[in-house]
Amino acid sequence: MSDQEETGALTSSVSQSESKQAAADLLRAVKEDPGSALKALQGLVPLLSRADISDKSVVAKTLVDVFACELTRSARTALAVNLLEPLKSLLDDCADDDVRKSVIIVVSQLYPCIFRKVARAPRPDSALWDLMETIKTKVWSLWTDGSDRIKIAAIKLAQRVVMAQSEGLTDPRMDDDHQVNIHTVPSDHPFLRKFQLEAEGSALLDRIVSSLEEPELSSPFGTAVIYTSVCLIRSRPSTANSVLNRLLEFRPHQADLRAASHTENQLQVRFLEKAVKISLNSVLRAATRSTDSRLTSLTPKIQRYLQDFMSRSAKLDSRKRPLDGDFDDPAAKRSRQNIDGGSDSITSLTMPPGPASYSDLFTLIDSNDPLSSFDATSLPLHVAIGMISAGLQHASPDQVQSALGAVFQRFSSLVPLKSAPTDKASGKTGINSEEKRERDEDEDADALPAADADNVINAAKQAELLATDLSEDDRLKIFTDAIDRLIESSSAVDDLNMFVNSNKALNFSGLSNHVAAADWNKNSWVLLLARICSRGLADSAAEEDSQGGSLGEKMREEVRSRLKEYVVADFRNRLDAAIIWMNEEWYGDFIKINPKKKSTGEFADTMPNYAKWASILFENVVLYCDSSDDRFLLRWLSEIPQLSTEMIHSLRTICVDPDRSRLGLRSLKFLIALRPPARDDALDVVEQIYKSDDEMTHNETKELLKQYRPSIVKEESN
C-alpha cells in the first residue's frame, strides 16, 4: 500500500486571541449552518479595520476558508457583496503580503458571484462593478512587482477572470460559479460590453502564460502558472491553443530562474519540468477522451513535445550513475565511472593476430565480452535501424570520434593504403569498391591480409590518399553503390511509420532545412536524390564543355536511371515519387536556361533533362494504364509541371484502344478543360481521332469539337 501522507494546518501553538476566537466561531457557524454566514460575518468585519496585522491575517485567512465551504448561491453572493468594500480597504491600507495574499484569494473566490450578479440583475449595480474593477486594477499592479505569495494569488484571480470572460458552456443545467462565462452577460447589458470583457480576458490570458518567460522566475510561481493554465485548457477549450503553444515553447532548463545556488537552480528546473510533463499528460488524456476539436487537434503537438522531453531526459539519465548501490564502497564507485567513461571500453587499437575479417576490424569490444559473439545479422532491419539510431543519439561525440580513430588506426596498420586502389589483381588487399559493397552483405566472408606495421601512415595523410587515389570509375561505382543502398533500404522497410519515427528521433532538422522538407517522410529521399541529380551535381559550365562525358554527368544519369527503375517498378503506388522527381527536374532545367544562349525554342532544347525523363515516364504510363486507372492518370496529367506536344499526342494510343478509349478521351477532356497550355495539342489529338472515323469515339469527339472547334464539325458535315 502506498504510504502517502498529507498535513493540514501546521501551526498549532499560537495563543487564542480575540480575532482568532471570532474567526473560529465564524468558521464553525458557517460549517454547521451555511445560512448563518452573513450574520456571523457581521461580527468579524470590524476586526479587519483593526491595526493589528495578526488579527487582519487571521480574519482574511478565515474568509478564504469560509468561501471554500459549501454555501448556497444566495449566501455566497450576499457575503461577496458585503465584503467587497472591506477587502478593497484592506488591499489599499495593509502592506503585509500574507494579508494581501489572502485578500486576493478571497477576491478570486467571489469574482464569479459578483460577475453573475452584475450581469444578471434586473437593475445592475454599476457601483459594485466599479468597485470590483478598482480591486482588479490594484491586484494587477501588485502582481507586477510583488512577492511570490502575491503573484501566486494574483495568477489565480487572473484565471478566474479569464474563465468568466471567455467562451464557456451555455448549458443552463451547469450554471454554477465555475461555469460563469461570457455568455452569462446579456448582449443588451446597460454597461457590460462583451467585446471589452473578452479583450480583457484575452490580455490576461496572455499575461498568465507569458509569466513563464519573465526574468527571475521561481519554480513555486512557475508551477502555479503551469497548473493554473492547464486547468484553463480543461475548463475553457477556447483558450487551449494559445495556452498550449506558450507552454510547449517553455524550456525550464533555459529559463531565467531566481536561485541562490547552482543546486537550487537544478532543483527548480526539475520541479518545472515535472510540472510541464504532468500537465501535458493530463491535457493529452483529456484530449483523447474529448470530442472537442480544439482539444483533439493539440494531441500531435503534445506527443511531439513529450517525445522530445523523454529523449532529453534519457540523454541526461544516461550521463548519470545509477542511484542504487553502496555509495560508501569506493571500489564500486570506481567501476561504475569506468563504464560511463565510454572510451575505456575500446580495449585495443591493434588487431588480433592472424587473418582478420571486416567484422574484426570494427569490433572494438573485448573478445571475451559476451556481446562479441552476438550475431547482429539475425536482427530484423527495422530493429537494427532503431538500435543504431538510439545508439548514435546517446553516444557522445568524443566517444564516436575515438572509436572512429581506433578503427582507422587498425585499418592503416593492416593495409598499405597507397596501393589499395591499384591492387585489384589479388582481389584481397585494400578496400576496393566491390569489397565495400560485399562488406554490407557478408562481413565475415571478406578476409583482410595480416597486419603490416611498416605501412602505418599518419591518419590525415591517409584520408587524403583515400579521396584522391580513387579512379573515376571507382568513384562512380562507390557513388552508385550508395544510391543503390539508399533505394534498397527504403524499399525494404515495410513499416514506413517505424522508419519515419526512427528518423524523427535522429533529428533530421539540419538535412530538412537543406532540402526544404518540413519533415522526413517516405518520399524525402526521392526529393533528396532528385535534387542531387537536377541541381546538386549540376555544374552548368562543366556540363557545356564535357558534353555528357564528365563524372558529374555520369553520376547524374546513374541517379536518374535508378529513380526511373524505382518509379516504373510500381508506378501506381509511386506516383508521388514520380511527381516530386519531375518537378525537381523541371525546376533544375528552368534555372539553367541561359537567355544569352541561342536556343531553337524547342521543348527538348530548353528543358533537356525534364523532356527526356518525363517522356520516358510518360511512355510507361501510357503503356501500362488500364481502364480503371482514370484517377491515377488524371493526377499524373495535372501535376507534372509541363506537357510536350509528343506527350499529349501519345495519349492517342489509349484513345484508339477499344478497352481504354473512354479513359483516353476523359484525359483529353481534362486537359482541354483544366490545363489551358495543353488545350491546343489535346484538341489536335481529338481532331485526328474524329477524322479517323473511329465509330466508338466518334460521338464524343464530335461533341468536344462542336464546343471548341465548331468549324471542323461543319466542314465534315458539309
Binding site: M1, E5, E6, I105, F271
Partner: protein, 176 residues
Amino acid sequence: MEAHKVLKEAGFNVSSFGTGSAVRLPGPSIDRPNIYEFGTPYDSIYNDLAEKDAKLYQANGLLPMLDRNRSIKTAPQRWQDHNMAFDIVFTCEERCFDAVCEDLVNRGEQLNLPVHIINVEIKDNPEEAAVGAQGILDLAKSIATTSNLDESIISVLNEFEKKHPRLPVLHAVSFF
C-alpha cells in the same frame, strides 16, 4: 502511514490517503496479492489476514503494520474520493505525486486554495519508511517555522536534500 504516525505524534493535524484504485497488500506469492476496497477497516483487514495465514503475515511484517495503522485511523482512505483541502500535501512516491497533481487539475481548482505538494521519495519497506518518516517530520518542522513559505520553500527543500541525500524531493504549487 509511518509518516502519518510521526507527524500526528508531533502535534500536526494530519490525514493520509492512498492514490491507487484499491488497497493492495502482499499475498502468498507475487501474483496473488490481497486486495481490499478503500474504506475497509484496518481491523477487518487484520483479522482477515490473520485468519488466512497468521504465521506468514506476521513474518513479512504485514500484521504488525496493520496493527500500527488501526491505532492511527479506522480505515484507509482514497485521495481521489475526499473533498478536504490542505496547506501541504506530502507524497512518498513519484507516481503518487503525479496522481495528486493531476487530480487537482481534474478537480478544476474550484476552491481556489493554494497548496504546496512535496514528494519525498521513500522506498516501500519498513526500514526506509522509518527513515523517510523522520525526514518528512524534519521537513514539516522546517516548513512550520517558515514565515513566508512561497518564497523560502526552495531553500528549505535544498537544505533538506543536502541533509538527506537519499530522499530526493519534488515540489509544486497548485490549487484545490
